[in-house]
Symmetry: C2
Subunit: 253 residues, 2 copies
């Protein structure tokens, strides 16, 4: 069903709202929106943005995530922005002397997935570029999110901070295998295909005298076979290698 | 020992070189440098950057990661940029029809840590803003890195793409507990302290008649105790709660 940009953003799901408190640069708001849509999130909330809203610079850096920028809502206070939520995370490098549980973004994302599955409405607070979240904002949160980073240079760009949280949210719900070969028209070669190529190559190498020292032939064969074994060849690649041997021997016959 | 910015960047370690192929916007190069230093990486390489290098815009968005920008090296070809490496990863959303293993950034980062521990020199290729890596660049890589993201909006900002890879690299070597309370002057309350507070509160509630229906008293006590049990109180917080009860009862005595 075709929908407007706004309805598309609104239909994105029940993931965390992203709440930027006193964001300064429109560019960063747009980058945050882009990072959100990269992770299928659409509920962007702004508390007292410094510049006039909507901000054309945000649409520019959103690079196509216009639906998220369009649907962003502006609030006067952080308390207003989180009023409809029942679980709030504060992303901050500095949980200054507060007794509040600190989670890595990875652990936090796993917990958020559980909370949303149980029907919780959740959000993540991010502070502005200059000073981050203040203690009163953090006190509104249930939990602090803090990314382990270079302790000598841990200050994140605002869009980057949003990306880490939203990326982890997406990963926590994703089941892509951690390693795979791209799907395509070709299959991994069978051992029969591989051994067929080995015999063809070894025959050609016998013909050209590459393995003329008989007592060295077995170890040379093993070494050459190991090179191609290690390559985890696809059947299409075995055909290519047959073609290479054919071509290289053509002139000699 | 004090060092120049350059030597600081160079001493950052043996993590992956970050190689940007035909990057266009200086801002994105600076953001990539910032993301690198956030993850203790310092070896930035640029292949045919569009604009003149050094680029003042890169220093601006690097926000203090000047050492990384300063130390960046420019190359004419991707082959030149990877010449000293022996394992190369290509970050791309589109491994277009190539038979090459695809890893998630998380799995890739774990593999990179192992490779570096074994003495490998590694690097990660990123394409420019407009078109990403081309097939000839990808063919120079051993493995493709592809972040699972919203299939309907998977195009990442260049700095964001670098951040995902470098963030995962850092996490793969980090041992921060996934959940903790900030270290401070206070300890979790013992059960003795907690029960001491319960008795104090319940006594005060008996005095003011809150629990005057005798048969309901046990369930009310359990419900109230559960509220405070769930809060995982610190000993400092138990003292605060004693103070609250003292203050609230003061007028009545």
């Amino acid at each position: 069903m075709a929908g407007t940009n706004k309805s598309r953003a609104a239909s994105i799901g029940d993931g965390p709202a992203i709440i930027l408190v006193e964001p300064q640069m429109g560019e960063n708001i747009g980058m945050a929106a882009r990072a959100m849509l990269n992770s299928s999130l659409g509920d962007l909330r702004l508390v007292r943005p410094r510049d006039v809203w909507p901000n054309p610079k945000s649409f520019h850096t959103a690079s196509g995530a216009d639906a998220v920028v369009d649907a962003a809502r502006v609030f006067e206070t952080t308390a207003d922005a989180v009023a409809d939520l029942n679980r709030v995370y504060a992303a901050t490098a500095r949980p200054r002397d507060m007794i509040k549980e600190v989670l890595t973004p990875r652990r936090g994302a796993a917990e958020m997935r559980s909370a949303v599955a149980e029907g919780d409405r959740i959000g993540i607070l991010f502070g502005g570029e200059r000073a981050g979240l203040d203690n009163d904002d953090i006190a509104l949160a249930d939990v602090v999110l803090q990314a382990p980073l270079n302790p000598a240079f841990s200050s994140l760009n605002l869009g980057h901070a949003v990306l880490i949280a939203t990326y982890e949210w997406y990963q926590a719900g994703d089941e892509t295998p951690s390693a795979h070969l791209p799907e395509g028209r070709t299959q991994p070669a069978t051992k029969e295909e591989l051994i067929g190529f080995f015999k063809r190559l070894e025959g050609a190498l016998d013909d050209c005298g590459f393995m003329h020292v008989a007592e060295k032939r077995p170890i040379m064969v093993r070494n050459i076979r190991n090179i191609f074994q290690r390559a985890n060849l696809m059947e299409q690649e075995v055909r290519t290698l047959h073609g290479i041997v054919s071509c290289l021997t053509k002139g000699r016959e």
